[in-house]
Amino acid sequence: MASYLVKRLLLMLLTLFGMSVLIFVMLRLVPGNIADIVFEAAGMIDDADKAQIEAELGLDQPIIVQYLQWIGGLVQGDLGFSYVSEKPTIEEIGPRIPITAKLALMALIFSIVLGLPLGVISAVRQNTKLDYALRVISLSGLSLPSFWLALLILMFCVQYFGTIPIYTRPPDTLWDELLLYSIPAAAVGFRSSALIMRLTRSSMLEVLRQDYIRTARAMGASNTSVNYYHALKNAVLPVTTIIGIEAAFLIGGLIVTETVFNIPGVARFLVEAILWRDYPIVQNLVMFIALVVVVVNFLVDLLYVVLDPRIKYAD
């Protein structure tokens, strides 16, 4: 196990290194830098002044030097300064991460809490009206653009409650916070829950055909015991893998949701930072996201070990 952890850690570093190169190169392949953008957004084109800004920010140095400076800083915990706000990157990203993290976590919890039992029910009642109804509902989750769902929720709230559940100021209490994030989390989580439901259903169907389920029945186990005790634990295995995929996907889904619900999280911030070519923000944020995805994947793998005794990462 220890050697497995070391191996995984090394591979994670390798991935992160690749990611750093990729995002760094990608950003610089995109035409325009902060100088172009602040100037051109203002409708001006003054090359001398632009060069001045570039020099100030160190953008005139060779790419490799810029990269080494960034990575060097990163290793020492120095994330540099945002080009746009001219504040330390950490101050910009720091307070926003928990917001998105909470949102993402709630969305994930929502999707699991909704998706898993419905998936089981749908599988157990395969080809009944209930199964059809649940599948149709889950598909509607997959076929509704998330911004659209979010807007509908907002309109509904305004129409019927006369209030709008958007973020206008930081919530005071934990309860407020939960309340505030619950609706956007549900809006994003609905999609994932649909995915989880579908996956749970199909893997449940798979598991229910297995011999050991027949064994359980032959030993007199009740339906509930068969479905939720004997089958679900096996069926949940493939479902855990998509948690990792969803973690990566959530960032994308959250951009839209954060925009519509006006939540000042990192997802939307990232978009703006890209539009401004605020390299320090984008690079560090993408690295952070990559770190999260890699760690989540790792945790999912560990979860696998917990859930499935057959897997031993001793190699």
Binding site: L139, S202, A248, I255
Partner: protein
């Protein structure tokens, strides 16, 4: 328990089904949702192919007189605020949206399959590196990449397809790789090897066809997702540029502002997206069931 109506049970099981037509009917009966999906998909493909024939008006021609006209005799599904005919736009939109869906799915699957096969076959350092690349692809948020592409390449059908296909690659590659690892050890692969078949041929003729079922599930799920993603990308500046009608664009934020005053602007493209996503997924489910050897008699 005394008298059992065997014939009814048999009919439900599809006994005595012969011939093309009755087999189709039986399958439709057996997989009603799948059949529903197939009908939807066929309808939309038909609409996309014959868009020019079945729509009376050029979907890009504006007309102040028809601006925000409600659905009715003059405009079947109403008109948008530029007075463009919504029916024409929805039908022509099928072309682009299906192109995005099919294109990105095909591209993503193709690359994913190649990577997955190569990785599962060559193993070793190659596999290790490819897996890292796949990790990276997975960790790079789609919308980040889409934004970067939008800024650098501009919105276009090709770019949209490429952007959407990229996140599919790691998923496909993973599935194919793990299947390849399992299948390459199977006796029939070994038998082929024993006959002197080259590894590439084995990969293509023996391994690939047997990973088809999960691929189909992934692909149909993706087909729908891609159409929606195009909508999100329109939201962020990638996607299909105006004036070409795409469902995503029609649904994107500007239309949302008219939801109260001109709901038909969102209802019809929204319906179209939902139907296609629905259709492909239902069809995919059914095809997966059909391909499952345990479901075959």
């Amino acid at each position: 328990m005394t008298t059992v109506d065997h014939s009814a049970e048999l009919a439900r099981a599809g006994a005595n089904v012969t011939g093309w037509a009755s087999r189709t009917l039986f399958l439709a009966n057996r997989y009603p949702l799948g059949a529903f999906g197939a009908v939807i998909v066929i309808l939309f493909v038909f609409a996309a192919i014959f868009a020019d024939v079945i729509t009376p008006v050029d979907p890009t021609s504006t007309n102040p007189a028809k601006s925000l006209m409600a659905p009715g005799g003059q405009a079947l599904m109403g008109a948008d605020f530029m007075g463009r005919d919504m029916y024409s736009r929805v039908v022509h939109g099928a072309r682009i949206s299906l192109a995005v869906g099919l294109g990105s799915t095909a591209l993503g699957c193709l690359i994913g399959v190649i990577i997955g096969l190569a990785s599962g076959y060559l193993l070793g350092w190659f596999d290790l590196l490819v897996q890292r690349v796949i990790d990276i692809m997975q960790a790079l948020p789609l919308l980040v990449m889409a934004l970067v592409m939008a800024a650098s390449l501009g919105p276009s059908l090709e770019n949209t397809i490429i952007a959407i296909s990229i996140p599919l690659i790691p998923n496909v590659a993973r599935v194919i790789r793990s299947n390849t690892l399992a299948i390459r050890e199977l006796p029939y692969v070994e038998a082929a090897r024993a006959q002197g078949m080259s590894e590439v041929r084995i990969a293509v003729f023996h391994v690939l066809p047997n990973t088809l079922a999960p691929l189909i599930v992934l692909a149909t799920a993706q087909l729908g997702a891609a159409i929606l993603t195009e909508a999100s990308l329109s939201f962020l500046g990638l996607g299909i540029p105006e004036p070409h009608p795409s469902w995503g664009r029609m649904l994107s934020e500007s239309a949302a502002e008219y939801v109260r005053t001109a709901p038909w602007l969102v209802i019809f493209p929204g319906l179209a997206i939902s139907l296609v996503v629905f259709g492909t997924n239902l069809l995919g489910d059914a095809v997966r069931d059909l391909l499952d050897p345990r479901q075959r008699s």
